[in-house]
Symmetry: C2
Subunit: 622 residues, 2 copies
């Protein structure tokens, strides 16, 4: 026991020394934020967590999430001490090309998710804990939180959900170092305030009066893993900058690396101050390996072969098709899970819930935690589909952004897109969602118009692993226009109408496909021929194939979409093809809508058949 304690003290000393050296060498980085959690990190990795350092993906490994991502150096230093990061790699921290970035991304192999935007780690931890419960896996998830980030609402969404699901396999540790970036935190170092608050939220709180005391930490962690029925939070009273006397517990040192000159006095001082911890004690550390009962599941994806068998009605909303297809995909693939933000009867995630209740997770009205939890599920090998109204996804934009940075393969479904929802008014309309999903990198956006294409693109979504996929669905029932033989792919589109004498091509998606088909009929009566394209894949665009269709249509294009013109489908197409000498007309939502019926909305915003006909005539004369 004493030797182990000495060993842990030594590790904390080593971590301190390394993070100081790394940040000084990089010339930037959050040294003081690492110094406050050195003992906590040493304890977690060398005493508390059961994991196999040689097999990070062992499904029974305890998981660790560094929610205070700016303390990245100490995470890298840990894996150096575990023998997985070389000295050279360690000191490549923050240099171009290094996987040891300023804040962790998944380019660093030993991390669950990208962090660095505060308030996200706990939600990922909730997802990983829910996954363990679902799969009856024994691992625990440990999340290290900064105290500054406890003012982020997203944290409290996760706190409530963790209690609701009784996640006794989740342990949060608060590195309560009192100081934020520029000022004291709201609760400062009043551990009792946190204790009462977490208890009120249904958690089991444990206060550690000195978060630099290995013995006290040991007691707290021992208690933490013994609790059942509740998630646990360890509130560790720490000192920011601990070990660098002149910076300890002082404002003004956040996110600052010490310079070489400072370091030349800091390191000797550190050695003197922690003199009993400098030498490696005679202790042979062995990792606490997890029980090796679980094997990593093979994620063999089964696709839906004949979507037509799933749909009986001739008209069906794509949101309902989503629910039906998701349930079927869930039957074919055990890895599929569904998370919904308390609108399952609107998104139709309830169909999945009925079929697979143990893989459906009610996330209540808390979109941020929902996206974060999905990252956690994906990290552990599940394929999560999250659903809510498309407009409310904006609540979780930062989480979506961070999911993309971490190339989390999550599937996001936004229903009630566009003004076509009708009377509920602009707050309920997804009119910015495409812009939001488009700007994050490696994202894929599908916006199918009917049930069959919804099923087909969901097949594609299931196989996409390089980032987020977004599926945009519609409230109203739309006609089923495709059959099982139609093929749908990344960057694809369907040419619904074409002739040798097409004067204009109409590019539509979702509800405007039907308005375009109506426009086609109206124009045909006047012997005007147009090509009609269903751009079911909004991102990525295939510039080459689109160009060919436009060339064959006289180089004239009408784009019509139920999204704000700013940042919508049209902008992408026009920007992509702006050098092709084509002529474009763009119909889309041009001002904040008000309440009104679906038809009134489409008329007012000029995205209905009549407006399309007028645009075609105008463009044809250009």
């Amino acid at each position: 026991m004493n030797k182990k304690t000495d060993f842990l003290k030594h590790k904390a000393y080593r971590l301190r020394r390394l993070v100081l050296q790394m940040t000084t060498k990089a010339g930037s980085g959050h040294a003081t934020s690492c110094l406050s959690c050195a003992e906590i990190m040493a304890m977690l990795f060398f005493d508390v967590m059961c994991f196999d350092p040689d097999n990070y993906e062992n499904p029974n490994n305890d998981r660790f999430i560094l929610s205070k991502g700016h303390a990245a150096p100490i995470l890298y230093a840990i894996w150096h001490e575990l023998g997985k990061v070389s000295q050279k790699e360690l000191f490549s921290y923050r240099t171009l090309g290094s996987s040891l970035e300023g804040h962790p991304t998944r380019r660093f192999l030993y991390t669950e998710c990208a962090t660095g935007s505060l308030g996200i780690g706990l939600s990922v931890g909730v997802g990983e804990s829910l996954y363990a419960k679902m799969e009856s896996l024994t691992y625990k998830t440990f999340v290290l939180l900064g105290d500054s980030e406890l003012s982020e609402g997203s944290i409290w969404e996760s706190v409530f959900i963790a209690a609701q699901y009784k996640l006794d396999n989740l342990v949060a540790i608060i590195d309560m170092n009192r100081l934020g970036q520029s000022t004291e935190t709201m609760f400062a170092n009043h551990a009792e305030k946190y204790k009462v608050l977490f208890a009120a939220c249904g958690w089991h709180p444990i206060v550690v009066k000195n978060g630099h005391d290995i013995v006290l930490l040991k007691q707290a962690f021992a208690e933490s893993v013994s609790i059942t029925g509740k998630p646990v939070v360890i509130i560790a009273d720490t000192i920011k900058g601990y070990g660098v006397t002149f910076a300890e517990n002082k404002n003004g040192f956040h996110g600052k690396a010490f310079d070489e000159e400072q370091l030349s006095t800091i390191l000797p001082e550190l050695e003197t101050r922690f003199s009993d911890a400098v030498s490696e004690p005679d202790f042979s550390w062995e990792p606490l390996l997890p029980p090796n009962i679980a094997v990593q599941k093979q994620k063999k994806i089964q696709l839906i072969q004949k979507p037509s068998e799933l749909f009986k009605e001739k008209k069906i909303p794509t949101r309902k098709a989503f629910g039906i297809v998701l349930a079927e995909l869930g039957t074919l693939n055990e890895c599929v899970v569904s998370l919904d933000a308390e609108v399952k009867n609107s998104t139709y995630a309830e169909i999945f819930e009925s079929a697979h209740p143990n893989r459906f997770f009610q996330c209540f009205v808390a979109e941020q935690n929902m996206i974060g939890s999905a990252i956690g599920f994906a990290s552990r090998g599940a394929v999560p589909f999250v659903s809510t109204f498309s407009c409310f996804l904006s609540r979780a934009f930062d989480q979506i952004r961070m999911a993309a940075i971490g190339t989390a393969a999550i599937k996001i479904v936004g229903s009630h897109a566009g003004v076509s929802i009708g009377q509920d008014g602009p707050s309920q309309m997804g009119l910015e969602d495409i812009a939001m999903m488009k700007t994050v990198q490696n994202s894929v956006i599908f916006y199918p118009c009917d049930a069959i294409s919804t099923a087909k693109v969901m097949n594609v979504m299931l196989q996409y692993n390089d980032g987020i996929c977004y599926l945009r669905t519609t409230r109203e029932a739309t006609e089923v226009i495709y059959n099982d033989s139609h093929e749908f792919e990344l960057g694809g589109f369907q040419v619904l109408k074409k002739s040798q004498q097409d004067m204009v091509v109409i590019i539509a998606a979702g509800v405007t496909v039907f308005e375009s088909l109506k426009a086609y009929e109206m124009l045909q009566k006047e012997e005007m021929f147009v090509r009609v394209i269903d751009l079911y894949c909004v991102k990525p665009l295939n510039a080459e194939t689109l160009t060919a269709e436009i060339r064959a249509s006289n180089g004239k294009v009408v784009i019509v979409e139920d999204h704000y013109k700013d940042g919508g489908i049209g902008e992408s197409i026009m920007a992509t093809l702006c050098n092709k000498l084509f002529y474009f007309e763009h119909l889309g939502i041009f001002e904040i809508p008000t309440s009104g019926s679906q038809e009134e909305q489409r008329r007012f915003h000029q995205i209905d058949a009549k407006a399309i006909v007028e645009a075609v005539k105008q463009v044809a004369n250009k």
Copy 2:
């Protein structure tokens, strides 16, 4: 007293009857969510709040915010009962052109902000309460919350901040009707859980065991206005659908209007059940007028005339210029306030804080509440500037979206834009912010490259009242290239270099302006002449003046920006001018960046001078 009680019961009856009629006529709407709060609303407007119905903008009026915006019909019904909304207008609810939308917007005159996305009202209330404290106004702010929205993290950001600022002029009322849209809420009707939780957050909680009992409500409100030093929450146990027996306290009736046939039995039943409340009692209600000591401040805006006097250095980061200018604008204009999300030493809002500490509000790391509070400040007549890292504004996208829907004149400042921040990595880089700000309607986006232009565009921001303004600032110091005589305006740009023989025009903004100027010098040495444009106003674009400059530059354009290409500046320009037969080359961030120095970043992503030179040469040959 008894007569007053009878009168309030009668009003609750009237409200119930009206919302049932309105929603049935509209064929949609949230009837049952109104029925649970009829007594609360009757109490607030006819017994508790001091306000002048004839002068909504009286600065001493108590304010009311309907955070559960789906209960809009009951707000409209209240103002009908107050004589301000005609019968005809009332029944125009949810029809095209009516200001009585499905969820309230500011097109309805008697509202503080747009609501309908849950979890926003309390943050607006925090802003209004902070404003009252700042201005020593006596009004109180009442916020009606649904219980479903208490799972939104944004609510808890506001709860913490309200306690931190000891907002005893803020009263939240929870309409605890137990049921959400599709399921029971997490805390169901366990009022004690809410009580303990709010108490732990530093609030004074009051439980009303029957939220339909006028006498109990009266006691609670009396207590609420007597509390000092703490915000108050009234937790009212109510029944969803109260008054419609078959729908009461049952799932499946959320957001559903009853049809005419149902209404024909509901209304008689209502009459029988509330028989003692049907007739108007003999009671002459008079509004509780507020003390008339305050007068609405005239918001006469003073602009900065000579920005050059504010800056001493030759090089200065635009983020620092922002801080300096904000402090000066604060000196000139008492209405200017600053809200910062715990990064004041990075955004330089700390300069304003030093100059005007009583008008600076530390919002901690809670971006959602910060934006919501800014809406509240703006609603009461202040001019709020909110600041944080540009990337972290994504955390509050929904609030920004709702601010835009409510045409709130708030000024948002995002620092640390682009890969040019260097080593911190992608989580800290604003690379999606322009896309986000662009897609919301009536927004203005400024991205100045130097200190003088920062000051000048902030003058313009101060005068813009039609929606949100976004200012994008840079981390690194940039040369001051403008002087006081340069003019900056909405839709404007500066032509920095021009000649008669320009072969290409380079359009840049922010840091890329300087790379473009370097490229200009490099090209000049090879006797290649290019026009250089500083597009300091990213939105709105002036297509006409831009077209003229491009025409004069041979119709060839290189756009270079430090933002993802998807959704950035280039996409807007190319989409706007796609029919002009120009030739475009677009340089921008094309993949998720990693850590690296500023120069390395710009080189890798090909937005530096060298890349611009290459692009110009390529474009010139097209």
